[in-house]
């Protein structure tokens, strides 16, 4: 074994990370030797995961602080192969959420998945959980194709076993197999990718692929990376495995999957894009298009859901879209020779990776608490939970504001970076087309607000829609504490984004293969203004609330049992409230062509209709239409062409715009490539 490194503390970072990975890998093993009844299996596993996570957090922080990074070479287990591990700023950046969310998830899971209530699968769950965390650590550390593939396969398999924890339910089994199928498409693509890379560079080590290599091979590598890592990240249209898998896993595993595991797809894509020197403009445009598609339709599909965890899973697709927008902008900037676009795009991409890990796991923990308290994930059966579970409600609200990208929380900061990069492109002569994702992102943001008003309002506000929601109970402190930690980190990153700036700069420098200190984020983005306005917003809201609170208290004391104004209909009941589906209906009706809602509505034929039943749910478009025979698809397309002319002037103008925009992109892309 050989260690090569510039500075001693960089090898310390690598050793800490490797140690953390080993500790996490064995965390579930002691439990196997104990009886399933014993509480100690769970306790030991949790303690080991927490210890490993703390080690890893220390190592990751050290790695983010350094540059270049240490590399360990292992003697070859097979002739011709060399396994290398290394930790540069990018590895450190992506490993930090693994340890934070992984450690907090283990704490949450200790209460959420008690050995007593889950005798059959508790030990398997803890073993796989630790192994999954270890494999994630080693994916970020891998410095050659073989080590990467081994870690990737361990991740895919342990994740499959975690998704199917509850495998008595046939729906869970289906979700698991779909996941496994997609995982293996990923791994096949990765095999091809690393073989191609070996063709170009001579070995499996992850090194820079020079621009002198044949363009067709480089494009093939990019496309393979896009498909393989796009599937893992859940980017549209490769996302079909994701919603079912995330909804089926236990909530702390869902949090880990949504917050961290899918980010390994982003890590792979970021790493490979960094290694491919001087990318053509088309790659960046592809990523921008894919990001816009994922972001917009991710949230549209989310609006169509009324299963809380499925809805959150679709929001992961949306956020992956925002992350891809950042990466696409960075690639476009690299092609166009604009370091400021690279910095802002990559900063937005990377910071959103952290942010999404934080608020999405917070929301999944919250969803787990709701499911734990009410026994259902169906939004239509909840309501009024803020009274029964005030702490969960407050924390969930914080996560909702953060995921909508609203100030003063962290989601706003990363979206602002992406917007800034896009508008910088807009004001540059000849590259206005690159700013077109900005309005898409704006619509996405507004739809996310709609979706989270729905989630938070229907679940936690109003009155209970079922007896289960009426009798809900607050979660134990061990489930609330991890959520509180995540909420605090969200708030800190939102109010003081300057704290993350050095890490972002170093990771961006590591990505671009430049020495750090080249570009400062503070010079491009208004970091101090973000802090000032966030603090002002919080202070003004606190002052104004303090001003009206006495009057509200007096009102409450004077008349404690006032009803809601019922507009003259004096028999209001909880069933009259707006539901999740009716709330979203105005928007989802615009998107019936992509959501394809299945509606079972009663036919009313008599004057006094009998009690009846209505339900509607949206299915996944890509999954279902892949199964359609090609001929039927063709018939449908031609039938739909007939529906295009409908005599509405606005529609025709929309069609004109839809044609003009791609033409414009094409014309201008040709122009800037020619220059």
């Amino acid at each position: 074994m050989s260690i090569s490194s510039g500075e001693p503390w960089q090898s310390a970072a690598l050793l800490l990370l490797v140690g953390a990975g080993c500790l996490l890998a064995i965390s579930g093993v002691p439990g196997l030797l104990l009886s399933w009844r014993s509480i100690w299996g769970s306790r030991i596993a949790t303690a080991l995961v927490v210890a490993g996570s703390l080690l890893g957090l220390a190592g990751g922080s050290l790695a983010v602080g350094g540059h270049g990074g240490a590399v360990i070479g292992f003697p070859s287990p097979m002739p011709g192969f060399r396994a290398g591990l290394g930790a540069d700023a990018l590895s450190g950046f992506f490993s930090l959420p693994v340890f934070l969310v992984g450690g907090l998830g283990a704490l949450y899971g200790a209460s959420y998945w008690r050995p007593r209530s889950h005798p059959r699968n508790g030990r398997r769950l803890r073993l796989c959980y630790g192994l999954l965390l270890a494999s994630l650590t080693f994916i970020t550390l891998a410095r050659d194709g073989m080590a990467f593939l081994v870690a990737w396969e361990v991740m895919a398999l342990t994740n499959f076993l975690l998704v199917t924890t509850d495998d008595e339910d046939p729906a869970v089994g289906r979700a698991g197999w779909l996941y496994l199928l997609y995982s293996h498409v990923t791994i096949l693509c990765l095999f091809a990718l690393f073989l191609l890379e070996r063709q170009l560079s001579g070995d499996f080590a992850l090194g820079v692929i020079p621009a002198a290599a044949p363009q067709s091979l480089r494009t093939a590598i990019f496309v393979l990376a896009l498909v393989a890592f796009g599937i893992k990240a859940g980017a549209m249209p490769l996302h079909s495995w994701l919603p079912a898998a995330h909804a089926s896993a236990p909530s702390h595993v869902s949090a880990l999957m949504s917050g961290v595991v899918i980010k390994m797809g982003i890590y792979g894509l970021v790493r490979m894009c960094g290694l491919l020197a001087s990318p053509p403009l088309a790659w960046g445009i592809t990523l921008l298009a894919m990001g816009s598609l994922s972001a917009f339709f991710g949230v549209v599909f989310a609006l169509g859901q009324h299963d809380l965890k499925r809805l959150l899973a679709y929001h992961s697709i949306e956020n992956i879209g925002i992350i891809l927008l950042g990466l696409g902008l960075a690639l476009v900037g690299r092609s166009a020779g604009r370091p400021d676009w690279v910095m802002l795009g990559l900063a937005g991409c990377l910071l959103h990776v952290w942010n999404h890990a934080l608020f999405k796991s917070l929301l999944f923990f919250g969803a787990g608490s709701v499911a734990h308290a009410t026994g259902t994930r169906d939004l239509e059966r909840t309501g009024g939970l803020a009274r029964r579970m005030p702490a969960t409600a407050g924390l969930f609200l914080l996560g909702s504001i953060a995921i909508c990208g609203l100030p003063p929380l962290n989601g706003f900061v990363s979206e602002l970076f992406v917007y800034l990069g896009l508008v910088r492109a807009a004001v540059t002569p000849g590259s206005a087309w690159a700013a077109l994702p900005a309005p898409v992102l704006a619509a996405t943001g507004a739809l996310a607000v709609a979706c989270f008003v729905k989630v938070f309002g229907i679940t936690f506000l109003g009155t209970a829609r079922s007896s289960a929601a009426r009798d809900a109970h607050e979660s134990p402190p061990l489930m609330l504490a991890p959520m509180a930690v995540l909420a605090v980190v969200c708030a800190v990153l939102g109010v003081a984004p300057g704290l993350a700036a050095p890490a972002l700069e170093r990771a961006a420098a590591a990505w671009a293969g430049q020495p750090p200190g080249g570009l400062s984020l503070a010079g491009l983005a208004p970091l101090s203004w973000i802090s000032t306005t966030a603090a002002a917003l919080l202070a003004a809201a606190a002052l104004a609330t303090a001003a009206v609170l006495p009057a509200c208290r007096r009102g409450r004391r004077r008349a404690p049992a006032l009803p809601t104004w019922d507009c003259g209909y004096a028999a209001a009941s909880p069933r009259l409230q707006y539901t999740a589906s009716s709330f979203a209906q105005l928007i989802t009706s615009h998107f019936a062509w992509v959501l394809r809602p299945k509606v079972h509505a009663p036919r009313i034929e008599q004057l006094f209709p009998a009690p009846s039943h209505f339900d509607s749910h949206a299915e996944d478009l890509v999954l279902d239409s892949l199964l359609l025979p090609a001929s039927r698809g063709a018939t449908q397309v031609s039938a739909r062409m007939r529906a295009l002319p409908q005599g509405q002037l606005q529609r025709y103008i929309l069609y004109i715009l839809a044609v003009l925009v791609p033409l414009l992109i094409w014309a201008m892309a040709g122009e800037s490539a020619g220059r």
Binding site: I401, L537, V548, A551, R554, F583
Partner: protein
């Protein structure tokens, strides 16, 4: 220093007057005398002195919503220049903060509506968020067009884009102004989108969301709505006219007159148009998106 104080004073004191002018214009069109233009101030004072009646269903979200409606609108107002003076807050990318502050206010207003458990208020909240997703891209297309015109990344710089550009770039500016005007009508719940004076809960958008707010909370809601109208009015005026041509205090006075003139214009539109059917509102908003989108396309060469 004086400019900042003047900005704060105008932002704090003028907004209710705009609502009064709109109401008065509508009254004159209807052949009535109508309430005086200062009536909104009297209403606010009256509401602030009243007690609060809170439904037993509501939680702290219900109280937080009016507070945030005011705070976010006022903060957005600090980003928009008045007259030729620079705004108190301006930085690269502040236009995102501008749009997202209103989104934060909308989040809480809609959540507070659901907090009451009333089906009518839920309906209003669904409509509010159901239309906003079309106004946001229109607004961002407008920002992109203005950024393209001015080369600036901050709202203050973008809104100076009209300086000297009116004659050369008339078409994109007219398209942008038309789009922003529709956004203003929709965001401030004005006539073709929403009728602020209707009496039927089923047809309302904004008013139905705040049915349960009372006393000082209702006062905050009304004041927040007035500030929002003021801020969007100022935004529109900057797009419509070269507002920094007359500098200093006369410029500010002229700007205030311009704001009042736009308010009269809103009153005229409200008096002469019928409210659209709810299902047709998205069509109008798509027209706003297209208008601003075409402005950007025209400017992108």
């Amino acid at each position: 220093m004086w400019a900042v104080i003047a900005h704060a004073a105008v932002l704090a004191l003028l907004p209710p007057l705009l609502g009064g002018v709109v109401t008065r214009t509508k009254a004159l069109f209807a052949g009535r005398r109508g309430p005086g233009v200062w009536q909104p101030y009297f209403d606010l004072v009256k509401l602030l002195r009243k007690g609060v009646a809170l439904s037993a269903t509501t939680t702290w979200v219900f109280v937080l919503a009016p507070v945030l409606a005011v705070v976010t609108a006022v903060m957005a107002g600090l980003l928009v220049p008045l007259g030729s003076f620079a705004p108190p807050v301006a930085f690269a990318g502040d236009f995102v903060l501008f749009a997202y502050l209103f989104a934060l206010g909308r989040f809480f207003t809609a959540a507070a509506a659901l907090d009451t458990g009333s089906p009518f208020e839920g309906m209003g909240a669904a409509r509010e968020v159901g239309f906003a997703w079309l106004t946001e891209p229109a607004l961002f297309f407008a920002f992109l067009a203005l950024a393209r015109l001015s080369g600036s990344l901050s709202l203050a710089g973008m809104l100076r884009a009209t300086e000297g550009a009116w004659l050369q770039r008339t078409a994109p500016l007219v398209l942008t102004a038309a789009g922003v005007f529709i956004v203003l009508l929709a965001e401030c719940s004005r006539m073709p989108v929403d009728d602020p004076t209707t009496h039927l809960e089923l047809t309302m958008i904004h008013e139905v969301m705040v049915l349960d707010h009372s006393g000082p909370l209702l006062g905050l809601v009304e004041y927040g709505a007035a500030v929002k109208l003021f801020v969007l009015d100022a935004l529109l005026l900057h797009v419509m006219a070269p507002t920094a041509r007359v500098t200093g205090w006369p410029g500010l006075a002229l700007f205030v007159l311009g704001l009042l003139a736009v308010a009269v214009g809103i009153g005229v539109v409200e008096s002469t148009m019928a409210r659209l059917r709810l299902l047709h509102v998205p069509t109008l908003l798509i027209a706003a998106v297209l208008s601003c989108g075409f402005a950007f396309l025209l400017l992108s060469r």
